[in-house]
Amino acid sequence: MARLILVLGLLFLWAPILLLAGYAFSADRIPFQWGGFSLRWFAALAENARVQEAALLSLSVATGAATLACLAGGLAGWALARGGRFCGRPLFGLLAGAPLVLPEVVMGLSLLLLFVLAQGAAETLLGWRLERGAGTIVLAHATLGLAYVAVLVQARLARLDPRLEEAAADLGAMPRVVFLTITLPQMVPSLVAGWLLAFTLSLDDVVLASFVSGPAGTTLPVLIFSSLRMGLTPEVNALGVVILVLVLAAVGVAGWVLRGRGGDPG
């Protein structure tokens, strides 16, 4: 029964994607109309420097943001689960979860205000003319991803029996050694999951990026969203296929490298 629903659910998730992938090879100018097999949209993509630039920017922003989110979010999740009592802990917990609930529109807007303020401060105090651009998008996406990573890590550590760590400490392990040999390895699966989640969120985001970006900060989703007036061309389908294949390959490699870790998603 559960398996049937898994198959149905995967079908629901994949049907539009397969359709999209299939019609990426259609010659017709109107998407989702079959006009004979053709690679013209992939060729068009290969010639479209704007799209390539944006795709490259998107992938690097997503990688940077996911990595930052993993570092900061991993620490935040650890601090919430194992940091003990410290000043401002309730506030910390609230803030770590806030990006999950802030509507993107609101978060984008408030971050924009902050960056503008920071730009002003940098110019008057340091004489620097900072630009909004890829960097601000990375910060915004990392903040969003941080919340997801923190939640995953915190949940993971909450289920980890603290006595395991206490036992190691009792046996004379330094706190750092306890962390590195016991806590961190237990965090790894949730960090990997969190990285993927943060990467995905970043790759998908239109709203945050369009708020906080500046010149030459057009990520792929923003570019497509803003060129909707050209209509959805099959080029967009081709692009979806290319990204999907790229990311799947990357995940496949990562999975293969990590396969020693027991293949346990939790």
């Binding site: 630009e131 909004r132 040999t181 500046g214 010149p215 030459a216 803003s226 007036r229 050209m230 209509g231």
Partner: protein
Amino acid sequence: MPLRLAFRLAFRLAFCLLLLLCGALLARPLAAQPVLNVYNWADYIDPYMVQRFQAETGIRIRYDVYDSLETLEGKLSSGRSGYDLIVPTSEPSFARLVRAGALRPLDRARIPNWANLDPGLMARVATVDPGNRFGAIYLWGTVGLGVRVDALRQLLPGARFDQLDLLLNPENAAKLARCGLAVMDSATDVLPSVLRWLGKPPDSTAAADLRAAEQALLAIRPHLRAIPGSGALLDMLARGEICVAMTYSGDVIQAAARAREAGRGVEIAYAAPASGAHLWFDLLAIPADAPNPEAAEAFIDFLLRPESMAAITGHVRYPNAVPASRPLVPEAVREDPSVYPSAESLAQAFVPGTLGPAEDRARSRLWNRFKAGR
């Protein structure tokens, strides 16, 4: 212990990465080659013009696009956008930016081609920008109806397309509902025409007039298939999903070209209301805090050359304000009356006046109610 070592290594690596990232974020942009940051509507230029300017001047252009005035204003109104050249529409964005002091006066000494601009059209913009200090007309157009001619021939034979009655008369709307009706999602660009159709002043702030406009819109609301952004509307028109749509002239003309290209028997035509169409202008302007205004002025001068403007109009099918460019525009576009309106329809056309913030908000709330159908 190899595992521990591996983790320590990974940690160091991650830390270095973090440092690098911070460094990259804080690094000041290198000022080796002059850079011009342009922010224009999507698909609103002949891309060859950008290349040519770069080749001629050695200034590198970073070209970003937006799909709605909201996006532009959102970027601009917070300040320090980083853009050197923007292309806001006269009403409401350009007018608002002028009043907010967000634009930099143009130095006409650096823009000799300013003399190419049509004084009659520039005078129309002077209502929001006295003395034309802040903006030069890039392209302009009207608001009217995009019509799917092949479908309408069967449904409403003999109907006139150059009347808003086609859409705003509830009887017609009911007949056409199945075929698909749409209004673009823009209070500022739809309400003036509706008010004019009702015989009221297009920039009226009288509560009774606005209520009448709201009633008129609500009467056709049940028959509307969609109230999309103008970009999405263009696409729907081109695919033949919409029979009558109220939107921008150039969008309809682009949709018509695309429908022809697709060759599926969808025939689209544009008609501006004969009784007087809403006229709008997109202006070349420089933000007050632009990092490189000189380059922006050089680009404006370049764009105002007749050859440049002719190429752009030929490409995007919106008329420009440089009369000397007209003979250079490809004939199919030059002779198309829906691109270049006739002299008498231009005389009939109106430019709505500026509204205060409170009136503006009242209108957008009216629009919200219309969209919700209440």
